[in-house]
């Protein structure tokens, strides 16, 4: 059952009706059953992997909390402890909690690593072990849906309990809901326990306006996913599958189109998930803030897949940066390169690790590692060269707030990020490099735009025209959001005839122009694979 299917629409209709019929006390149970049903219908018995991860995470959380409590109780019951003894108890408690946490991380991460990365590691290790005549067997393993997302959620939960930021959940069933909440299981956002759990567990009253707004957001999600992303997928797939048949111009165009495809696909899915959640009174985290209006790669990553970025920041970047080895490294680099350059090296290395992990999180292939490298490299270059870059701009007497400069920076970022996508979308690292080479070596002219080559990419003329029109709408909507215009509220203020005409038009447009149904098979989400 994908988001873009009649079954899903029927499923959420039934879930919403039941949710409001059962009363506040049992609403979370409706969501739990709906989530388990959704998970089962997509992954069958791989549901058990999700359940097991949830159960382990729950137990680890409880063990950590019990251990912390035990230490706390011990201190409270022994007023006569000296400061040294108190410190010893605290350290012992912390050590115990850390051991439990480590255990939890190893198990939960181990499941992900085994299911998702085993073959990658085995394949690469076998190349080395071949010399010794040893071979690690590969397995054909099925990935449970959303494993990359809920694993990060579970890790964050355990770490937060360990850090004392949140209390461990007492109800295993409620915790299962947090781990399997169906709108976010397919492709995120990666929720934090303290932001989502309470919303899931508490009851929500029926609110007509909220339901309308949720539906509007879902409709916009369907427009993005079904009308734009899946339409873009046709020429993109054609070029990326047969990349050797196309010259640089078309290859370049296809990677830019892929950038738009992956955005509308991901953001569309997110809006469908957020829209449904709004209908039942749950506010999910924003995962995008108009990323293609970013003026630098670093800003792009603050606007793109925000919950992954913030997860990496909180659970990888900061802990690494303040860790003892990095502190030691900082001292050495400052000594070697002076304080200005030396102090920047440890955070750069942390950042590099983060972006490599981001790439690796997307998939167990070297091309994803390269994807992470590409982005990390440009972010570091941006920071390192910022001063020189500003100097150069000032010398050319360019106003940094001028419209032309902003457009230049935005387009430049779009193209840099777009080039990075050669790595994430191409069939392999070699194919990505071949395509990048084609853009620079085989870019003869722009005649492909008018000579009919575009129609050969699988979309008819009418579909290209429709696509351009839809991309214009997407641009306008994103621009209005960028300028903090609240579109849904603006629409809500209009006359009912205008509003309903608009709704009817959008519904009919999705029905007619959407790429869904048995004639298409592009309805699964790109980020679902990650």
């Amino acid at each position: 059952m994908t988001f873009v299917s009649t079954e899903f629409l029927a499923f959420i209709a039934v879930t919403t009706i039941l949710y409001y019929l059962v009363g506040h006390k049992y609403q979370w149970l409706v969501l739990l059953f709906a989530s388990l049903f959704f998970y089962y219908s997509n992954s069958k018995w791989l549901l058990l992997v999700n359940t097991a991860t949830g159960l382990i995470t729950y137990i680890i959380g409880r063990l950590i909390e019990n251990n912390n409590l035990k230490g706390k109780n011990l201190l409270e019951s022994h007023d006569d402890f000296t400061a040294q003894e108190k410190k010893k108890v605290k350290e012992k408690t912390k050590r115990g909690s850390r051991r439990i946490l480590t255990c939890g991380i190893v198990i939960v991460l181990g499941i992900l690593v085994f299911l998702k990365y085993h073959n990658f590691f085995a394949g690469n290790a076998n190349k080395i072990l071949k010399v010794f005549g040893v071979k690690i067997p590969k397995h054909s393993l099925l990935l449970p849906i959303g494993i990359s997302f809920y694993t990060l959620q579970a890790l964050a939960y355990m770490i937060d309990v360990y850090r004392g930021k949140i209390a461990a959940d007492r109800n295993p069933l409620k915790f299962m809901l947090f781990m399997s909440y169906f709108p976010q299981i397919v492709q995120g956002p990666i929720a934090r326990y303290n932001q989502l759990a309470d919303q899931l567990y508490q009851g929500h009253s029926f609110d007509y306006d909220r339901i309308c707004k949720g539906m509007q957001l879902m409709m916009w999600g369907f427009v993005q996913k079904s009308m734009i992303a899946d339409r873009l997928a046709i020429p993109v797939n054609q070029v990326f599958y047969h990349y050797r048949d196309y010259h640089g111009g078309i290859v370049f165009l296809s990677v830019l189109l892929y950038g738009l495809q992956v955005y509308t696909d991901f953001s569309g899915g997110m809006d469908i998930a957020r829209g449904f959640s709004q209908m039942i009174g749950i506010e999910m985290d924003m995962n995008f803030r108009q990323p293609y209006f970013a003026r630098s790669v670093e800003e792009f990553w603050r606007r793109w897949h925000i919950t992954l970025g913030s997860w990496m920041r909180d659970y990888v970047f900061y802990p690494l940066s303040i860790s003892k080895p990095f502190a030691k490294m900082g001292k050495i680099t400052r000594k070697l390169f002076g304080s200005r350059v030396g102090s920047r090296i440890p955070p750069f290395i942390s950042m590099f690790i983060v972006y490599t992990l981001v790439g690796f999180w997307h998939g167990a292939e070297w091309k994803f590692v390269a994807y992470g490298f590409w982005n990390g490299m440009f972010i570091m270059m941006g920071i390192l060269l910022e001063d020189k870059y500003n100097l150069f701009r000032d010398k050319l007497k360019i106003d940094k707030d001028s419209y032309g400069w902003i457009v230049f920076q935005t387009v430049r970022t779009f193209i840099i990020v777009g080039f990075g996508r050669f790595f994430s979308r191409a069939r392999g690292l070699r194919a990505a490099l071949f395509m990048i080479r084609a853009v620079f070596v085989d870019f003869s002219d722009l005649s492909f735009i008018t000579d009919g080559s575009l129609v050969e990419l699988g979309l008819s003329n009418a579909n290209w025209i429709l696509l351009i029109f839809l991309l214009e709408i997407l641009f306008i909507v994103d621009y209005l959001h960028y300028k903090d215009v609240h579109i849904r509220e603006t629409i809500a203020k209009q006359h009912v005839i205008f509003r309903w005409t608009l709704y009817f038009a959008v519904i009919i447009a999705i029905l007619v122009f959407g790429m869904y149904g048995p004639g298409y098979n592009a309805s699964s989400f790109l980020y679902e694979q990650f």
């Binding site: 299917s5 009418a462 519904i507 029905l511 007619v512 122009f513 959407g514 790429m515 048995p518 004639g519």
Partner: protein, 465 residues
């Protein structure tokens, strides 16, 4: 306090009513809008639409018989011609690749308006039990919503192991066919009944002739049905028996028959006759006059020329066997008169005149072929090969001008000459000629075969000097 409480309750109730009212109005408007656009997004082949339209437009309990079958039903029987020849109202519910599992439900649907009609079941497609999505769409897309439609779709989907969730496309075809928007033509927006009573008007039927004589096969041997076919047939007969449905099973002449198919016709005949139903096997009936070298557009489907011969024979068979009255001139059947007029006029473009086509004599040794056609500014000179025994030749003409699209009689040659000059032509127009040989039989012309495609040429724009 109570007043406040009651006020609140009333306000809450009004609010709920407003919400429900608004939502209902929105849904109704949306539903109406969808009803309006849905027919645009149905299976591309609109023949089933014409079939249903023709059928549902009949007055209740007004037709003599209803033919139910696959494409060779509408490639053989033309309701309008049957009416023109015998004044019988024989309707059709025939669809491309109709699966035998569906026949029982087609009868059920048809009996809602025609409970006393004779149901003529074409068995030629009885072997095609395989369920395919497009076959269900042919049947379901234009059928009005009813419990019969639901049963039909579910039975076929069960037989084809189609998931429950996938069945919705047969109720809401836009789910499958919405991508057709980029191939819409102006005709797509103006789908309406053509008034031909389901008569075939597709180009393959009208314009193609293929020699299928080598594919023809006939046997008296019986080949057993498989379990599935037998179950389908038994269920069909049970239904007909339980509901007192008058039934005639018929095997229509066709080539391309494997031994097993023809053999199965014999088995079906035995089974249905045992249960007291009528059966007629027309596969080996010479009186129909089918010429397998010319009268088919492929091995299983007659073209217009074969079909017109079939209508003459089968219409007479029905009149003789079931005593259907000639209803021509009855003011209640004006739509049938209109259908005949329209359909026979349409056929003239392809067959000169229906009455010529199905009264042909096979006395002549060959068909008349124009050997030379020379076109000048305003006249054309035609020469043709002699036909032994022909007493004369009628010359017919059509052109690419709008008012001359159908064959028009232009003259007769009776003096043994094989030459005709047609004057009064327009410049730079493509004309097509054909020559039809004849003999007199009891003072009436009896025509021979002719080349219905004719010979074409274009008149020159200016006089040659």
């Amino acid at each position: 306090m109570w007043v406040n409480y009651l006020d609140n309750r009333t306000a809450q109730k009004n609010n709920w009513l407003k919400i429900i009212g608004k939502s209902l109005l929105f849904m109704v408007l949306l539903f109406m809008l969808l009803l309006y656009i849905m027919p645009l997004f149905t299976i591309n082949d609109k023949r089933p639409y014409q079939m249903y339209e023709a059928f549902y437009n009949e007055r209740k309990d007004s037709v003599d018989a209803v033919i139910i079958g696959a494409s060779n039903s509408y490639a053989s029987w033309q309701s309008a011609i049957g009416w023109g020849d015998y004044g019988i109202a024989v309707s059709m519910l025939a669809f491309p690749n109709l699966m035998p599992q569906a026949i029982r439900y087609c009868i059920e649907e048809a009996r809602k308006t025609q409970p006393n009609a004779l149901y003529i079941i074409n068995v030629n497609n009885f072997k095609s039990t395989e369920i395919r999505y497009n076959r269900i769409h042919y049947l379901a897309d234009f059928m009005p919503f009813s419990s019969t439609k639901c049963k039909l779709i579910n039975v076929l989907c069960d037989a084809g192991n189609i998931r429950m969730a996938d069945r919705i496309e047969f109720f809401i075809p836009i789910i499958r066919f919405h991508s057709a928007w980029d191939s819409f033509t102006s005709e797509s927006y103006s789908l309406q009944s053509n008034g031909l009573k389901g008569g075939s008007d597709y180009s393959l039927f009208l314009e193609t002739s293929v020699d299928v004589s080598s594919e023809y096969y006939y046997t008296d041997e019986s080949v057993p049905l498989d379990d599935n076919q037998e179950a389908i047939l038994t269920e069909l007969m049970d239904y007909c028996e339980a509901n007192n449905v008058k039934v005639l099973f018929v095997a229509v002449p066709q080539a391309g028959n494997q031994e097993s198919i023809v053999g199965q016709f014999n088995t079906i005949e035995t089974i249905v006759k045992k249960r007291g139903f009528d059966f007629v096997n027309l596969l080996n009936v010479d009186e129909i006059g089918i010429d397998y070298t010319r009268d088919y557009y492929n091995e299983k489907h007659m073209n217009v020329h074969g079909s017109l011969k079939y209508c003459v024979y089968f219409g007479k068979y029905l009149v003789d066997k079931y005593g259907f009255a000639d209803k021509r001139g009855d003011s209640m059947y004006l739509s049938w008169d209109y259908a005949y007029e329209k359909y026979s006029a349409m056929l003239q473009e392809y067959c000169i005149a229906p009455e010529i086509t199905h009264d042909v004599t096979d006395r002549f040794d060959k068909i008349a072929e124009i050997s030379t056609a020379v076109f000048y500014e305003d006249y054309a000179v035609l020469e043709w090969d002699m036909i032994a025994e022909a007493e004369g030749y009628d010359i017919f003409r059509k052109s690419d001008m709008d008012d001359e699209k159908t064959w028009t009689y232009v003259g007769t040659v009776e003096d043994g000459s094989l030459l005709y000059t047609d004057y009064g032509l327009r410049k730079k127009v493509i004309y097509t000629y054909t020559v039809v040989p004849y003999v007199y039989e009891n003072g009436k012309k009896e025509y021979g075969y002719y080349n219905w495609e004719g010979v074409s040429g274009e008149t020159i724009p200016n006089k040659v000097r």
